[in-house]
């Protein structure tokens, strides 16, 4: 799969006046981690939701290589994986039941389903809690289960929406290391976070958006001035006023 290209992508929610995304143009190369940054309400989650196919009605064009993303997804439905910022699993089901259910929803069955569930559980290190109800796990384990579910279909494009919120430093370090290893396997990873040091540590390229517009985009080394860091650049571009 080639570069994920967004060309002049615009979106507004039905019945609301303001534009949430305004002609967003980005090039997200395969095999790296692309950091998508912005203050609350900037349009990050909306952008992720459009890429994941949850929101329709956006104008502009999204393509993966030479092929429209929608066509790729019709051809290979599970080429794209999503790890949302919510714990998007069933708290009353066990971890194993959640993995089995979401695997089946991706068309996996029988031995292949068991194999993928075991591999995803092992990758996210949740094998020891497979029999426990997901709602009773610690915050770190919940995040890891969330990641495991997103990897069941072996997606080529992985969308990670603030995947480390509310976890302890050990779990965060583990998650970041895992995500880095996923990019090494040739995936395209879009990563949103409010933690600038995380983005600086694992992303190759970044884009900072605000009010639905791209303020800056490019390789980390290109966008951050020599005598500055990502957080300083972020504050400089998005200003200090509170957003919510």
């Amino acid at each position: 799969m080639g570069t994920l290209n967004l060309e002049a992508l615009s979106f507004r929610y039905p019945g609301r006046g303001e534009t949430v995304l305004d002609k967003v143009t980005l090039a997200i190369p395969a095999g790296g981690i692309f950091g998508l940054l912005g203050p609350n309400g900037a349009g990050k989650t909306t952008l992720i939701s459009i890429l994941a196919g949850q929101l329709r009605g956006a104008t502009g064009r999204i393509s993966a290589g030479d092929e429209p993303l929608e066509a790729l997804r019709r051809r290979r439905p599970h080429s794209l994986g999503l790890v949302p910022q919510e714990y998007a699993f069933y708290p009353m089901l066990t971890c194993a039941e959640n993995l089995r259910f979401f695997g089946a929803m991706q068309g996996l069955a029988g031995a292949r389903l068991r194999e993928r569930a075991a591999a995803a559980a092992a990758f996210a290190r949740v094998e020891s809690v497979l029999g426990r109800r997901a709602g009773r796990l610690s915050g770190g384990l919940k995040r890891r289960l969330n990641l495991a579910i997103g990897l069941l279909g072996e997606p080529e494009i992985l969308l990670l929406d603030e995947p480390t919120v509310g976890v302890d430093p050990q779990s965060r370090a583990f998650l970041l290391e895992s995500i880095r290893s996923l990019a090494g396997a040739g995936r395209t990873i879009v990563y949103t976070s409010h933690y600038m040091e995380e983005v600086e540590a694992i992303c190759d390229r970044v884009a900072i958006i605000d009010s639905g517009r791209v303020l800056v985009s490019g390789a980390l080394s290109e966008v951050i001035p020599d005598d500055s860091d990502l957080e300083e650049l972020f504050m400089q571009l998005t200003h200090r006023s509170l957003r919510d």
Binding site: Y13, R56, A88, Y90
Partner: protein, 394 residues
Amino acid sequence: MRRLLALWEKETLALSRDVLGLAVLFLMPAAFIVVMSLALSDVFKGGPARRTEFAVIASDGPEFAKQLTERLAGDGFHPSPEPPERGVLHVTKPALTLIVPLGFERALGTPLGKAGSPPALKLVADPSLPPALLLAFQQRVLGVVLALRVSAMMRQAGIAANADAFDLKRAATLSVETIGGSGRPSSVQQNVPAWLIFGMFFVVMPISSLFVVERREGTLARLVSLRVPFSMLLLGKVGPYFVVNLAQAALMLLAGRTLVPWFGGETLALPARWDLLAAVTACTSFAAIGWGLLVAVCSRTLEQATVIGGVGNILAAAVGGIMVPRFVMPESMQRLSEVSPMAWALDGFHAVILRQGGAADIAAPCGKLLALAAVLLAAALWVHHRRRVPVSAQ
């Protein structure tokens, strides 16, 4: 199909771990069936099966009072073992006290002229006595007085006659045959289908609650991102709750057969046509699940789902003859009840259980329930389509 089966399995697992939700679905209707069947048993039995005590206070002496008492007794009316004194008639026992004025016995033998007025009797009644029972006793008193008057006048005319010969009950025998052979519903025949329907419609609670949680927790968004069609997500809820509704029906019939008689109530008479009972149950289930799906899609919070689903069910039950049988409602309310899906379902169950009807008798209620289910499902899809933003990403 594999994905649909996975959705059914997930829904079943989720429901099986919701102990409170299951209690609402199974224990609530069972409790209502037992309590209401017992509490309303006298109301459904009518006069003869209900014990009502009465007393006669006659100023013409104890013999006349005794004669009247003996003639008035029967068909559920029993002489009070402790007749009240005149001064304590406000006490509610006995429920009926007939006060006979001085000279009444003599007046019975006197022909009434054109201008004459009949002898005056007074009946003191407990205000809580059902009007039908009061009317029945009034007719009974007038019948007895007529028999006594005719026999007294015939005696005066020199014809030996006993008042027994003019007893209205001896005039002719009148048997009543009702459609289906079982008459008006007994308490248990009314309450088992009624509270079963109420319980079946309560699947709105777990359906909508889990759906709201799925939307709030981002699970629905994840499923949409996996390209699971929304119509399949809705269908994924139909299978498990259909099974739940069938299980409710089986258990509530069992409660009517075992639990109610165990507590001293009547035993539910089972229908002759089980296939028709299954058809009515299935149609009711589809309507209930359709209602649950619409509430689920329309509700943004658990509170909304609880209020819309719960209040909607209670209103439909109140109007539809679940809480109060329709035959005791005034005509205007009976007409209004025809808009309640619960009334359609009750019509279907009564046609099978009470009237031992055939397929033609359940066609109309089943047709209405299925049409409603289709409309509700279409409305749920339409509401979802209109919003076009199924995720919590807003």
